[in-house]
């Protein structure tokens, strides 16, 4: 296994008294597509900014493309593409000009690819950047971030303002890069993530509460329907790895985060009940993991 494209160890970051990231551990293998999910204010943007060396954590170690994030070399930066959530492009430039301007910073700028994408995404090179809609600006920023064909692409809420057609184009573009490039993107749109991501990390209150392959997450978080012959004890009803339980008479609906094949049988024996297993999609899982 080659070195991870990105690795965070024990990263802690606070702004004044406000703690944003707490002891974050995250590793991104080359060629993977990692979706970072979390509620608003959970620390996604701060995590990405720290990973890119744009913000400095108080504690912890961040390696990106084999270098320290805070001291990333120019050669390292050339292999990196980034689309921030708040896109800040020169409003007075035309699209054609901003492409030429951005391209000038990169020795391996792929001009034909950029021009083709502008056409595919219906952006007119003669339009002024300042007059574009939010969605159009997001498309343009994405195209610019891909112009130098980066090895690692970091996207902060990339599809938030895109219409369904553009979102599909965005997904196609990311899917085309699978295997060749590494992608890290934050999102709260779980349906996008289910198609493209092979890994998922869940950030909750500044901590990574889950990080694994997406399939593994789906295999591990399940909802169980328990049906007993006699009433189940409300409050005392517990199962291993329980996230939450709702007990009503003889029935209980319980979600677990460490599902194993033998768990239903163990529960069945313990409570003399029949147990059926319900698969959960990412949105359900997200809600279960955030249950207070």
């Amino acid at each position: 296994m080659s070195e991870p494209m990105l690795e965070l160890r024990g990263v802690t970051k606070s702004f004044g008294h406000k703690s944003v990231l707490e002891d974050v551990e995250l590793s991104l293998p080359a060629g993977s597509v990692l979706g970072l999910v979390g509620k608003n204010g959970s620390g996604k943007t701060t995590l990405l900014k720290c990973a890119l060396g744009l913000q400095r954590p108080q504690q912890g170690d961040i390696r990106i493309l084999g270098e320290s994030a805070w001291e990333l070399s120019a050669a390292g930066k050339e292999r990196l593409g980034y689309v921030p959530q708040k896109i800040d492009l020169q409003p007075w430039m035309k699209i054609r000009q901003i492409c030429a301007y951005t391209g000038a910073f990169y020795p391996r700028w792929n001009k034909p690819l950029v021009e083709r994408r502008l056409r595919d995404w219906e952006l007119n090179p003669e339009d002024r950047v300042g007059l574009l809609s939010v969605g159009q600006t997001q498309k343009l920023a994405f195209i610019l971030a891909l112009g130098h064909e980066p090895d690692l692409l970091v996207l902060d809420e990339p599809a938030a303002s895109l219409d369904p057609v553009a979102r599909r184009q965005f997904l196609e573009t990311v899917l085309d890069m699978v295997g060749e490039r590494t992608v890290l993107f934050s999102t709260h749109i779980t349906s996008d993530l289910e198609r493209v991501a092979d890994r998922v990390a869940v950030l909750k209150d500044g901590k990574i509460v889950h990080s694994s392959e997406l399939d593994e997450l789906k295999d591990r978080v399940k909802r169980l329907h328990v049906q007993a012959a006699t009433p189940l004890p409300n409050g005392a009803f517990r199962v291993p790895g329980m996230l939450q339980a709702k007990v009503t008479g003889n029935e209980a609906v319980v979600s677990v985060q460490d599902f194993t094949e033998d768990l239903p049988e163990r529960i069945a024996q313990q409570w003399s009940a029949s147990v059926s297993v319900q698969d959960l999609n990412l949105e359900d899982i997200f809600l279960e993991l955030h249950h207070e």
Binding site: L171, G179, D215, D219, E265, S274, N281, L282
Partner: protein, 132 residues
């Protein structure tokens, strides 16, 4: 009908991981004979592109199907439906039954039936259907 990715139908927001949806569908297509022995499966890239899913997901499904003996890897050609009938060992086939048996065990317990009584009931059912 040669195998094609149009035979697949995936639902990314179902709780079943996409690789398992693909595996289940290949198994069904092979079992039903729609995909015949020796047929070549559509390539990983093609399936990923047509279904708009991550290539690694498709490749994972194919590898697991290969492990299970449903398909085999042919150098330079890709994956093809295995020529050996993919019946599996007794143990594997038993494990297919397990979820159903779990329910039987639970209900038998609730009805206070002994394992012998359950087996007797099962035996008479087999006899009724003529497969002993």
């Amino acid at each position: 009908m040669p195998p094609s990715s149009s035979h697949f139908q995936v639902n990314p927001s179902s709780g079943v991981p996409i690789y398992r949806q693909l595996m289940d569908q290949v198994r069904a297509l092979v079992a039903s004979g729609r995909w015949a022995e020796g047929d070549l499966l559509p390539s990983v890239r093609q399936v990923a592109q047509d279904l708009q899913v991550n290539q690694m997901t498709v490749s994972k499904a194919y590898s697991l199907l290969e492990r299970d003996g449903v398909v085999e890897r042919v150098r330079g050609l890709g994956m093809r439906v295995n020529q050996k009938s993919p019946k599996g060992t007794v143990k594997e086939r038993q494990s297919e039954l397990r979820p159903l048996l779990e329910q039987v065990a639970t209900q038998a317990y609730q009805l206070a039936l002994t394992p012998e009584q359950v087996l007797a009931a099962l035996e008479s059912l087999f006899k009724e259907r003529g497969h002993e």
